[in-house]
């Protein structure tokens, strides 16, 4: 928080959450949301460079790409997708209820969202674990079972797959951390229908994390 609560710029009744540089809460809320949207814009560009590499190499090695895609676990991918979609729904509900001032149910919904994030991470870790054992790894670590007849170019699939999904998982970890902090703040009574910026902005970020997965799932798991 700013340490300038004593400075009065002519607003006699300043709400405690209003920073000195803003004239009113609505504008401050708008600024925070707008800032997050811009940040999401940069996240999209961040992943788009990887999708560009994906498009290029898939076009170069269509057969190797399709064969490699057969080797990753579509069932797990589908379950992860459902898990994340459900978490998007719960975080949206959390924003709805914090607006109504229902602190208890907001905490519960944030907790469910957080758990969904953790479930996703566990499932994906298990996927990585099996791929590690099967030798389905990027670049020079690629050593699959000979009977699968995977061409060497499939290594490029796994390079793209690992880099993109690990980066996405890092985003999930950050999202879980952010939502965790917001949940603790909510338990401590920081938010009210007059001020719930963190919940809204954190929710926006979580939606983006889910949205990226919605693209990654068909691109990596379903191209076969």
């Amino acid at each position: 928080m700013q340490t300038d609560a004593t400075i009065d710029h002519g607003h006699a009744e300043k709400p405690p959450h209003l920073r000195f540089q803003f004239s009113d809460s609505a504008r401050q809320f708008h600024a925070a949301k707008f800032g997050m949207w811009l940040f999401l814009g940069q996240e999209v560009m961040f992943f788009s460079a990887l999708l560009c590499a994906y498009a290029y190499y898939r076009n170069q090695f269509p057969v190797a790409w399709s064969m490699a895609s057969h080797r990753i676990n579509t069932t797990f991918g589908l379950l992860e997708t459902i898990d994340l979609l459900f978490s998007s729904f719960t975080v949206a509900l959390a924003i709805h209820f914090v607006r109504l001032g229902r602190r208890g149910i907001t905490t519960l919904l944030l907790f469910v969202t957080l758990c969904c994030g953790l479930i996703f991470l566990c499932m994906h870790s298990y996927e990585y674990y099996t791929e590690w054992h099967e030798g389905l790894l990027p670049g020079r670590f690629f050593h699959p079972e000979a009977e699968w007849h995977l061409p060497m170019e499939s290594a490029m699939f796994f390079s793209c797959y690992f880099f993109t999904t690990v980066l996405h998982s890092i985003h999930v970890i950050i999202g879980v951390g952010v939502l965790g902090v917001i949940m603790i703040f909510n338990i401590r009574g920081k938010y009210s229908p007059a001020y719930y910026t963190h919940v809204e902005v954190g929710g926006l970020y979580w939606h983006l994390v889910d949205l990226i997965w919605i693209f990654l799932f068909p691109l990596y798991y379903l191209v076969a």
Binding site: Q21, A31, C52, A53, G139, A155, M156
Partner: protein, 547 residues
């Protein structure tokens, strides 16, 4: 700006809010400050250091090139030096310099705000930048790298030099840049004072807006590209490795998708400063405000679509090359719109000749010739001849480095009285400005000739008949360095012994000159109401400067 009450009062009346420098004291009040003006000064300290460091690397290069081969260093040291010169100047000086220092200081003041929208994020941006500089320095101390600042694969993924910390530094610096961009865009949208509608926005703010859009949308691409490069170096993932089916040209595309717009991250703020300086020193309203503002977005937008001109000789199809060449030339049109309006503003004006305006003239010269050689380089048949020669080196030093250095120094002199509340001495400042401009032009003009005659860039040795051009270039590089030293000493002396600056020592029409020098902690006693255009000249007299 309706600040009549402030203008009539003495600068520091009893009981008034103290200025931002004397308001708080102690080390912690600086390192943990959330005040945009103090953060700007933190940036100023750091970019001055990186500018000096980059300059020392450059002088080492020029000294080596005095003789055709085996001068003061071996070939490997030379390779490291030009890499460190490029990395330091591009990532640690030119990208953060003008937005970090003058953007931070003046953006809120110019739009009538008390601070940026997210002050803590602003401080975080600074520390990310500082962390990047420290990482970079750490890498340099541990041997540095020899890839060139472009980190082209597959060389950068196979070199045995310390490339990882330098890549990490550029990556971290990118986040600083992105967060600054987000902060500035949100500030411009949400914190404009009443009456500050879009067509009253000072042109420096328009320039920062365009810059911020590029920072937010282009920087993440270099981030991911450098990360791919680092992972490949570390783990051999093969994304850019031809031996594993990877394509090094993909790296070039992704790299230039950022690094070409990055040229405008560096140069658009310089254009913005030029508009402010022309507005202040021509003593009449600026010509073509709307055109200058809108051409900024022309440059920012088309800048995203021109990266392919770096790959004319990388196996690009003729059609692609033609399209990229055409789009690159279009940027010249938008820049020319600005240039004609600046020159039009100077026509029949009673120009005040002071150090900041001398830098502006230097900027005009470098931008015109740097820009026109850029249009020439966008012509495919000519580029094939000039690709990777000193001609390209001279071109981008004129337009990119030259424009930024001129306007960084111009802005520093122009806003110095407002930032520090002190007047500098005009005489040495003008001599310094002339030395810097002559030094700069003299350093790079011979390099146009060298390049045209076929001298490739980044070469350690050269045929003996090129020597006189190299020697000339080196002599002027030392003159440039002397000029910069004079500027530094003059400003340090002014900081220590300068006279107290009045609110508006230049008699400039812009908003920021209405508030006290230096400003108070929250810039304005109350949120101001803007009731005039930014370049509406009101017949202010220049209050006699220090000499």
């Amino acid at each position: 700006m309706s600040l009549a009450a402030v203008e009539e009062e003495p600068r520091h009346p009893e009981g008034a809010e103290p200025d931002y420098i004397r308001g708080k004291s102690g080390v912690m009040s600086w390192v943990l400050t959330l005040d945009h003006k103090r953060i700007a000064l933190l940036y100023l300290g750091t970019v001055t250091l990186t500018f000096f460091l980059g300059g020392v690397f450059a002088l080492a290069l020029r000294t080596e090139l005095l003789v055709p081969e085996n001068g003061v260093m071996d070939a490997m040291t030379y390779n490291r030096m030009f890499t460190l010169h490029g990395v330091t100047m591009v990532f640690f000086f030119m990208i953060p310099a003008i937005p970090g220092v003058f953007g931070n200081f003046f953006l809120p003041i110019m739009i009538g705000a008390h601070d940026v929208a997210f002050p803590r994020l602003n401080l975080a941006s600074y520390y990310l930048y500082l962390a990047a500089v420290c990482l970079g320095l750490w890498g340099m101390i541990h041997g540095g790298t020899d890839t060139g600042w472009t980190f082209y694969t597959p060389y950068s993924t196979t070199t045995t030099t310390t490339v990882l910390p330098i890549l990490a530094a550029a990556f971290v610096n990118g986040f600083s840049s992105i967060l600054t961009g987000v902060n500035f865009i949100v500030t411009i949208h949400t914190l404009r004072a009443d009456g500050m509608h879009w067509m009253r926005l000072p042109l420096f703010i328009w320039a920062l807006y365009g810059t911020s859009v590029i920072q937010v949308l282009a920087t993440p691409v270099i981030g991911i590209t450098l990360a791919l490069c680092a992972v490949e170096h570390f783990l051999g993932t093969g994304i850019f490795d031809p031996a594993r089916g990877g394509d090094p040209i993909l790296f070039q595309h992704l790299f230039w998708f950022y690094s070409h717009p990055a040229v405008y991250i560096m140069v658009l703020p310089a254009f913005g400063v030029a508009s402010e300086l022309v507005g202040a020193f021509t003593r009449k309203p600026l010509v073509g405000y709307r055109m200058i503002a809108l051409s900024t977005f022309g440059i920012a937008f088309v800048g995203f679509l021109a990266w392919g001109h770096h790959l004319f000789t990388s196996g690009q199809s003729a059609v692609d090359a033609g399209v990229f060449g055409f789009l690159s030339m279009l940027i010249g049109v938008f820049t020319a719109i600005k240039m004609f309006n600046w020159v039009g503003s100077m026509y029949k004006a009673s120009i005040v000749m002071a150090a900041p305006f001398i830098y502006t003239l230097g900027f005009f010269f470098l931008t015109v010739f740097g820009g026109m050689t850029g249009v020439a380089l966008a012509t495919i048949s000519l580029d094939v001849h000039w690709q990777d020669t000193y001609f390209v080196v001279a071109h981008f030093h004129f337009i990119m480095a030259g424009a930024v250095v001129m306007m960084f120094l111009g802005a520093l002199h122009y806003w110095f009285p407002k930032m520090f509340g002190k007047l500098y001495t005009e005489g040495p400042a003008m001599v310094g400005a002339v030395l810097v401009i002559l030094g700069f032009i003299g350093t790079f003009t011979p390099q146009f000739f060298l390049g045209n005659e076929g001298m490739p860039r980044r070469y350690y040795s050269y045929p003996a008949h090129f020597q006189w051009l190299h020697v000339t270039s080196t002599i002027f590089a030392y003159i440039l360095f002397l000029g910069l030293l004079l500027v530094l000493i003059n400003l340090i002396v002014a900081l220590a012994n300068g006279k107290q600056a009045p609110n508006n020592p230049w008699g400039a029409p812009q908003y920021e000159w209405d508030i006290p020098s230096p400003p108070t902690e929250h810039n304005f006693p109350a949120t101001p109401v803007i009731n005039r255009d930014p370049y509406e000249y009101r017949g202010q007299e220049i209050i006699e400067n220090a000499n």
